[in-house]
C-alpha cells in the first residue's frame, strides 16, 4: 500500500538553530500539504502545494518558515531559526488533486523538540 514518507521521525534541536523536514507524497499525488500539530490539538495547515506551486501559505510564519517542492514531487519544510514554541508534530499529507482535498493521506510525522 502506497504511503506518505517523512523523515526524520524525531528531531531535537536547540533554539536559534536551523531544522529541515522532508516529505515524499504518494506517487501520482499532485497536491501536498504541510501541517503543524500541537499536542492536544488538531493539525493546522501551514502550506499547500499544487505540483511545484504554492496555492496557500497564509498560515506559514514566513519570517522563519520556508517550504519548497522544486520538482513537484517531494518537499522540504525548513525552520530558521527555531524557537521554543515551534515544538510540535509536523505532518505531511498528499491528495490526488485539489478537488480531492477531502481525501488526504498523512505521513507518520516528524516530532520536533526545541530546547
Amino acid at each position: 500500500e502506497a504511503e506518505v514518507a517523512q523523515s526524520p521521525r524525531y528531531k531535537i534541536t536547540e533554539k536559534s538553530q536551523a531544522v529541515a523536514f522532508w516529505c515524499d507524497p504518494i506517487s501520482g499525488h499532485a497536491t501536498l500539504y504541510w501541517y503543524r500539530q500541537i499536542l492536544g490539538q488538531g493539525p493546522e495547515l501551514l502550506v499547500q502545494f499544487q505540483d511545484e506551486s504554492v496555492v496557500d501559505d497564509s498560515q506559514l510564519p514566513k519570517d522563519r518558515f520556508s517550504a519548497e517542492r522544486l520538482k513537484g514531487v517531494d518537499s522540504t519544510l525548513k525552520i530558521q531559526p527555531a524557537e521554543l514554541g515551534d515544538s510540535a508534530m509536523y505532518l505531511c499529507a498528499s491528495s490526488f488533486g485539489q478537488a480531492s482535498s477531502y481525501e488526504q493521506y498523512f505521513g507518520p510525522g516528524t516530532r520536533l523538540t526545541v530546547t
Binding site: V4, Y33, L39, G40, Q41, G42, P43, E44, L45, Q48, Q50, V55, D56, L91, A93, Q98, A99, S101, Y102, E103, Q104, Y105, F106, G107, P108, G109, R111
Partner: protein, 114 residues
C-alpha cells in the same frame, strides 16, 4: 511512547459496546466532512467521509451522521474493539478562493476498556 492530547475530551467504552463521538462544525459552506483516527505517534488515518448533501453514510463498523441544521457530525463505531483506542478528529473541507483545505476540530480520545 508519545501521548497525544493529554487534555482531550475522553470517551471510555467497554469492549463490544457501541461508541458515539460527536463534533460541531462552523462553516455551513463546507462540502465534505471527514473523520480521522490518530494513534499515538502516528499521523491521522482516514476513516470515513460524508458529502454535505447526505445525512448518513455507512462503512465497515462505522457510521457517520450529518445534521446540517445544527452543524453537528457524529461517528458511530459498532462493537468497539481495543484497536479502536485512539484520538478521533473530525475535519471539514472548505473552499478558499482557488484552494480547498481541511480544518480540523478538537479531538476526542476513545479509550476501550476490557
Amino acid at each position: 511512547g508519545e501521548s497525544v492530547g493529554l487534555h482531550l475530551p475522553t470517551l471510555s467504552v467497554q469492549e463490544g459496546d457501541n461508541s458515539i463521538i460527536n463534533c460541531a462544525y462552523s462553516n455551513s459552506a463546507s462540502d465534505y466532512f471527514i473523520w480521522y483516527k490518530q494513534e499515538s505517534g502516528k499521523g491521522p488515518q482516514f476513516i470515513i467521509d460524508i458529502r454535505s448533501n447526505m445525512d448518513k453514510r455507512q462503512g465497515q463498523r462505522v457510521t457517520v451522521l450529518l445534521n446540517k441544521t445544527v452543524k453537528h457530525l457524529s461517528l458511530q463505531i459498532a462493537a468497539t474493539q481495543p484497536g479502536d483506542s485512539a484520538v478521533y478528529f473530525c475535519a471539514e473541507n472548505r473552499h478558499t478562493g482557488t484552494a480547498s483545505k481541511l480544518t480540523f476540530g478538537t479531538g476526542t480520545r476513545l479509550q476501550v476498556t476490557l
